[in-house]
């Protein structure tokens, strides 16, 4: 794809490919090592399909001891490793390297323990997000973070990306719902952090690992918090003549002290695409649609639904529908949850962005996006986690038209830079990966990025784990560690002294 510079390929590693495959087969016998190009093609990209690369080799270990040995072997021989779960990343976090071993964790798919009394579950990293909920729902429990890809995405990948979902405002992201991890460092050392208790001892390494995009260690076991499902949940579907009104309604709901279980907004193009696709009964004569879900005890939900409806009316809503059954609530969500594929039906290709903005900046960002849409001559549909300001513009393009993909990428970069300009961030839940890597300087100075990279050095000083992701420029750790300060050259500061 367009101009993506990946770390220089190590020719020695390439030339030793056969030997490396042999060594890996010694560690993971049977069919656990794949070296046929055609078979490796299944791993050549993740959810960001514009980027493709056949890995050096694929290894699919079955035990933690094997992972440890594979990593130790890679470490001792200076070979890069790219960890992968289900490969649903939308930012290229699992994009293989030509000279790197792709470490697939798909075989780690067991729920190891459910402990209702301590309200947690211990699972292997290849268990899907939804499978955790499925393992506990017969007792009325669930795992809160619910990314749209929850049927397929794994908890190991959720850890790497700090995945969110539509219920984040009330229930938090992955990082707020993980209690413990077992990880294997690039040296092969196995480390346990946290457990069934709250808050790690010492430095919060757990907090660092969540969202580290596979650059610090390979997750081999996860302890997550499980929650009792709310007694009831109802949703209200509100149409607005403008996105400003919808945005103000969201602000007023929050100002009224109401934290909804979910609060989602869609713009006109997204509404029409979704309605055409799933017939959710969305109003088609509105510019913005808001879905507000309230959950909790029935009396509370009924009361809050009324308050939200009142607030919506004050903000010029043109239609309000409150779900009266589970089926109807599910139907309200069906359109939102299918928004991406729905947009996929009205355009040959689409490019999904993921910025977060302070909510009150929404009208400004949407207006600017419309201008950009005209400049680039590409349509854009918007779905928005309105409660927490996480915006997903979907840029519509046709990859078969020469230059259109590049145009879509430039448009996307402009949108993300705009998000940063208005006080937001480049990515809310999809991760930096390779996709937003080169945009990092829009948000961070070199000093900021160097402080982050030194964390990488604390875990993986040789930079072998998933290099080429997150950081626009990889510095050598020795270089980052150097300090250029000479004693006696900095004057005593002219500040109050006591």
């Amino acid at each position: 794809m367009s101009n993506l510079k990946m770390p220089e390929v190590d020719q020695t590693t390439l030339s030793r490919r056969k030997q490396i495959a042999g060594e890996l087969r010694r560690i993971v016998p049977g069919e656990g090592v794949i070296d046929e190009t055609e078979e490796m093609r299944a791993y050549e990209s993740d959810g960001l399909t514009a980027y493709k690369q056949i890995p050096l080799l694929v290894v699919l270990p079955e035990t933690v001891a094997q992972i440890s040995e594979v990593l130790k072997y890679a470490h001792d021989n200076g070979i890069k490793v790219v960890p992968r779960g289900a490969g649903t990343s939308l930012s290229g976090g699992a994009l293989p390297l030509a000279d790197g071993i792709l470490l697939g964790l798909g075989k780690f798919n067991k729920v190891l323990e459910v402990d209702y009394q301590n309200r947690c579950a211990v699972v292997q990293p290849g268990v899907t997000n939804l499978a955790i909920t499925q393992a506990v729902q017969h007792e009325g429990f669930y795992y809160a973070p619910d990314p749209s890809s929850q049927i397929a995405c794994t908890i190991g990948g959720n850890i790497a990306e700090n995945s969110g979902g539509v219920h984040c405002l009330k229930y938090g992201l992955t990082t707020n719902n993980v209690l413990g991890l077992e990880i294997v460092l690039i040296t092969g050392e196995i480390i346990r952090i946290g457990g069934k208790h709250l808050d790690s001892e010492g430095y919060d390494l757990l907090g660092l690992l969540v969202g580290s995009e596979g650059l610090l260690g390979v997750v081999t076991e996860v302890t997550v918090r499980i929650l009792k499902s709310p007694e009831t949940a109802r949703a209200v579907l509100v149409g607005f003549p403008s996105s400003e009104d919808a945005g103000q309604c969201v602000a007023d709901v929050i100002s009224a002290g109401i934290i909804a279980g979910g609060m989602e907004m869609m713009d006109e193009l997204a509404i029409h695409a979704a309605e055409e696709f799933v017939q959710a009964g969305y109003p088609l004569d509105v510019e913005a649609l808001l879905i507000v879900e309230l959950d909790g005890p029935e009396a509370e939900v009924d009361h809050l639904i009324d308050r939200v409806s009142e607030i919506a009316k004050k903000n010029k809503s043109v239609s309000i529908r409150v779900s009266t059954s589970e089926a109807e609530r599910a139907n309200f969500w069906a359109g939102r949850k299918a928004a991406f594929p729905a947009v996929g039906r009205i355009s040959p290709d689409y490019y999904c962005m993921d910025g977060t903005i302070p909510r009150h900046q929404l009208p400004k960002v949407l207006a600017r996006m419309n201008e950009l849409s005209k400049t680039y001559d590409l349509r854009v549909a918007n779905v928005f986690h309105a409660g927490d300001g996480n915006l997903h513009p979907l840029i519509l393009y046709d990859a078969n038209v020469p230059g259109e993909l590049e145009k879509a990428e430039e448009f996307g970069a402009d949108i993300l830079t705009l998000c940063v300009e208005v006080g937001g961030v480049l990515t809310g839940e999809h991760g930096v990966g390779v996709e937003k890597r080169d945009l990092m300087p829009a948000m961070f100075t070199e000093t900021d990025l160097n402080h982050q990279q030194r964390v990488k050095c604390a875990f993986d000083p040789d930079g072998l784990l998933n290099p080429g992701k997150v950081f626009p420029e990889l510095h050598r750790c020795a270089e980052l560690g150097r300090m250029h300060i000479n004693k006696g050259q900095v004057p005593f500061p002219d500040i109050p002294r006591f």
Binding site: Q117, N118, R119, G140, L169, L173, T175, N176, G194, K196, H197, L198, E201, G202, Y203, D204, L205, L206, G207, L208, V210, K228, P230, A251, I254, I259, G296, P297, E300, H303, T356, P358, G389, N390, G424, V425, T427, G428, V432, K436, M440, M443, T447, D448, L449, H451, Q452, V455, A458, F459, I485, G488, V490, P491, F492, P493, I495, P496, R497, F498
Partner: protein, 395 residues
């Protein structure tokens, strides 16, 4: 006698740290100093007084966000939030009483200690609400991380590791926190006379219900009189009443019970949060243990078997506050052995300087974790300028 540097803005803070780095002069860092007695004692030639860095710089209630200079007093911020019916959902404790300080400290201290109160079980800890910061690392460089929005995965989540680092990685000058609406009202359901095991079982049952309990503590006999197991419900009036009744129905076999009205409920949870039961002027050491909730009684009893102690549980049994005699360095060996039966950890929150100098105040990390922690410390503070030795002797 140490010399104190007192910067009045971020530039002066930068100059001070940069100078200390170049001269390799370790700094004792503090705001209002309310938690200075937590941690290993240290005596450095220079201390860095941040109390001049104050003021709320941004508060947008409808965006649920607040930014301020790091040493802004908590009391000032909490007043501001209260006026808009908002709060820090993690219910940070005020240890003025417990530690004999004269205030609740600053935002920076609240973050550096990552201590959360009873609502931790539902709302998370300080680290879960700490969105972004800027500050100066031990390399003498100004840097920032995070942002002002809740959903942010841009780069490593450095606010997480700054929270709870006790000023050993960076001197933070500006912070941004998530704030949330305060509950309209609250009630507490209290069960009397339960043993620790019965209490932990009842608390677990309550948390396994959909009653959305926001505080779950057990005060064994002697803490305030007869043993009391207390469960707090917060929210809007009708919902609170409804859930309390439901809870009462669920736990009706557990023993005699009573309801605490809003005011008494608030007072009780303030005491649980601030560990006021042990703030009686005594100087006896106090340990804070975080363990899997169901293991609480086992751990407390292992300590009680060897030490003449008082204890109570918060977090449904997962947080044990234990007051011990001064002998044997505050029963250190016994406490460490008791917590070692679990994955949890123990921190000495109140103790004399002599005891704090003699024992590990924080949980000694397992060997692998110790190496990573040391690497992290060196990454941010290669010359050991920032609060060296406060958490660990070698860091």
């Amino acid at each position: 006698m140490s010399s104190t540097l007192k910067p009045e803005d971020a530039t002066q803070l930068f100059d001070a740290v940069k100078w200390a780095v170049s001269e390799e002069k370790p700094l004792d860092i503090h705001g209002l100093g309310t938690k200075r007695t937590i941690g290993r004692p240290s005596q450095h030639e220079f201390s860095l007084d941040l109390s001049g860095l104050t003021g709320v710089t941004l508060y947008e209630p409808e965006e649920l966000v607040l930014s301020a200079r790091a040493a802004t007093p908590r009391a000032e911020v909490e007043k501001l939030l209260q006026d808009k019916n908002q709060e820090f959902a993690f219910e940070p404790p005020n240890f003025a009483g417990l530690l004999g300080a004269d205030s609740g400290g600053t935002l920076g201290g609240m973050i550096a200690s990552n201590l959360a109160g009873p609502r931790r079980i539902k709302a998370g800890a300080v680290r879960d609400h700490f969105l972004g910061f800027s500050g100066v690392s031990g390399r003498g460089e100004t840097f920032k991380s995070g942002g002002r929005v809740v959903k942010n995965v841009t780069g490593y989540d450095l606010p997480k590791v700054i929270a709870g680092s006790w000023g050993t990685l960076a001197v933070v000058s500006d912070v941004t926190l998530k704030v949330l609406p305060a509950a309209e009202t609250e009630l507490t359901f209290a069960l009397e006379g339960l043993s620790d095991e019965q209490a932990v079982a009842a608390m677990s049952e309550a948390l396994q219900s959909s009653c959305e309990v926001s505080g779950v503590a057990h005060l064994p006999e002697g803490v305030i009189g007869a043993a009391a197991t207390v469960l707090r419900i917060e929210g809007i009036g009708p919902s609170v009443e409804y859930r309390l009744d439901k809870l009462a129905g669920m736990l009706k076999e557990a023993g005699p019970s009573e309801k605490l009205a809003e005011e008494s409920s608030k007072e009780l949870w303030r005491c649980v949060r601030d560990v006021s039961f042990f703030a009686d002027g005594s100087k006896r050491p106090v340990w804070r243990l975080s363990v899997p909730p169901m293991d609480g009684p086992k751990v407390a009893q292992a300590i009680a078997a060897k030490c003449d102690c008082r204890w109570f549980y918060d977090w449904a049994g997962g947080l044990i506050w234990c007051e011990v005699p001064e002998a044997d360095n505050g029963c250190e060996e016994t406490v460490r052995a008791a917590v070692a039966q679990t994955t949890g950890h123990a921190t000495l929150i109140r103790a004399s300087q002599a005891i704090r100098a003699a024992v590990d105040v924080f949980q000694p990390p397992a060997p692998g974790l110790a190496v990573l922690s040391q690497n992290l410390k060196s990454a941010f503070d290669p010359k050991g300028i920032l609060n060296p030795g406060r958490m660990y002797a070698e860091a």
